[in-house]
Symmetry: C3
Subunit: 286 residues, 3 copies
Amino acid sequence: VVRRYDTVSFLSDYGTDDEFVGVVKAVLRDLAPHAAVIDLTHGIPPFDVRAGSLALARAIQYVPSGVVLAVVDPGVGTARRPVAVEVAGGEGVLIGPDNGLLAPAVALAGGAERAVVLANPEHRLPSMGTTFDGRDVFAPAAAALCNGVDLAELGPSVEPDGLLPGVVPLSRREGDRIVGEVLWVDRYGNCQLNVGPDEIEGWGERVRVTIDGTDRSARRVTSFAALPPATPGLLVDSSGLVAVVMDRSSAARDLGLTTGDTVVLSSLDDGDEPAVTTAVHLQPRR
Amino acid sequence: VVRRYDTVSFLSDYGTDDEFVGVVKAVLRDLAPHAAVIDLTHGIPPFDVRAGSLALARAIQYVPSGVVLAVVDPGVGTARRPVAVEVAGGEGVLIGPDNGLLAPAVALAGGAERAVVLANPEHRLPSMGTTFDGRDVFAPAAAALCNGVDLAELGPSVEPDGLLPGVVPLSRREGDRIVGEVLWVDRYGNCQLNVGPDEIEGWGERVRVTIDGTDRSARRVTSFAALPPATPGLLVDSSGLVAVVMDRSSAARDLGLTTGDTVVLSSLDDGDEPAVTTAVHLQPRR
Amino acid sequence: VVRRYDTVSFLSDYGTDDEFVGVVKAVLRDLAPHAAVIDLTHGIPPFDVRAGSLALARAIQYVPSGVVLAVVDPGVGTARRPVAVEVAGGEGVLIGPDNGLLAPAVALAGGAERAVVLANPEHRLPSMGTTFDGRDVFAPAAAALCNGVDLAELGPSVEPDGLLPGVVPLSRREGDRIVGEVLWVDRYGNCQLNVGPDEIEGWGERVRVTIDGTDRSARRVTSFAALPPATPGLLVDSSGLVAVVMDRSSAARDLGLTTGDTVVLSSLDDGDEPAVTTAVHLQPRR
């Protein structure tokens, strides 16, 4: 059964200061005027495939049926393949470069069922240069799918197993400690870790958070406002992962954290005097 | 009469570097595909309820009939109530946290007629965490209203008088002087004051503007271009308020002004030699 | 034949931190609810008419039939005229200030066929101030055209020849050298020049790039990835112009280039030892 989609969810590292996003949307409007475009974000740092793949993974379960167009593509113009990947019995197709960007979202959507390389020149725009595949390759393919063109017509099929996997760092257990990593710092300075709530289940209300050799006592909370001022907290965030947070302040700034940093968690016994070193600008409640 | 809305006007402090806005719009598209979303702005500074309430107030008279979704919500996850407020005989419903954010816009739209707390779990998404009410509470409520669900079904009604009021600072008169405050600095550096044109009616072409103890002579103009270079002006801006401006330059930067700063206005007699102190980088016409 | 348009492509220097863009779109939605709005970009630097005109020119060939609304308008409120310009047998109408902003795009679309000044008060909003023509003049005119109002009803016609021309700097030949200028630095730091690929046709693989007295050897490539690390390249970009680029790095930052800077190109004979001075942080392959 050939589907006709009416939504394109669009993520990129194009930013919005240039007209890149606008031109891609102009092409979509021109070729598939019935399709609505949802901008997931275009604020992925330039060339940061990992950040893009994580943002897409966080969003994917909320994305409506249809086409997902994702472009973070430092290898544009090289041999890396532009692909379209069908998931969930055709409920959705993810389009983008085969560089790992799509992989976590594809996995969360149940895995790739069909995949093709976007090689059919009938569904490309003639390019003046070689550097804007979003406009010339990905948008026309997305529009074609919205218009009912079957995936197979976009180019030769590839084995889903042959697609480049994504790289999502896993936390690891070292004795009683969990060694995690900051996956994402959001606008508010919340630091999402690659640690699930199950990994700290059974721990007490306070958790030792070790960053760059400094120990701090963080409180486990279910809302920002439950935190006293200048006190770090651990909160299960809206993606279901453990995040280091502050109330109405940026944990990233106050604790000196950025994406990729290591954060070590260990349990603090509630009765014990915690051997906790505290940065001067923090005033944890004891 | 139950209305079915087809526009959601959306304002937040989410920024656009993360996927927050995109996910809210994905949820809206999924639940109410017929509704168009107008992004009023997502650039409200994080947690700045006052700035959000003022931006919404400036925009509200231009917003089409339908749902207004506004999220600046430092208290997410606390006892502050998520609410929906009906105005103008059902022409519009404003949805957001009951923290004063909606209040000025509600007042400008004629006042609240009905209000409910968004407590009905049937019109919420199951939440993985407790921190993304835009996605899990507000967007589903907006979508439900777009789909013709009556306000009363979203949760228990609350007295409109019980909603938290907004805080809009008023200017005050001290003798012949008007003590105002910068409400908003826009992208161009124009500084909107909480002063209406009626408050300076009858004053001459020049007005003494006192900022942090420094007097300057400002010209009253009706366009930026009427100002000589490096000369501050007073202009009735597009919201109908008095703004301190420069021509093709940022008044905020040149005069050292930011949101919340005090600005004192007093009349300069046209015949008098003005006792005006001028900053070195300004060259007012005498 | 009167046309009824259903797309408004919108470019401005409004930014998205304020609600300017949102209010214009709210007005469009209110007056012409059937019309879709494509945001080309709102990140044009404030007042930078040239940058806006170049972005519009780069985008115009991809813009769908309909109305183009462009606002970069330092002269708002002055005698500069708000205009609507019909092109391509009525396929499109460009609306904006008559300050050169529209001119390059109009030329690329085949030239102005009809033009009017937006003077008809029936197709304006009553203005509280004089500073927001996007909301009060341009958006209502765009909506009117979308609703099938004929161009002639928006105001008195003007001779297309009387519209203000755009200023696009031309490169010049000095002996064997081409003296060009940076037209645009994009998010990735690629520096687009006002030089076409025909101007360097027949040159070898390496080109001498002289910036502020410093010579460098740049490689001509067709993809970023063909460049060794820290090596500048010349690439025909997605607009069909020659750009100075680096692979996965910002040429603007690494070479100290910004919009308006002069860049001189000259041919390097492939057999010769190039007399090339190289900045310390660059490691060109020899």
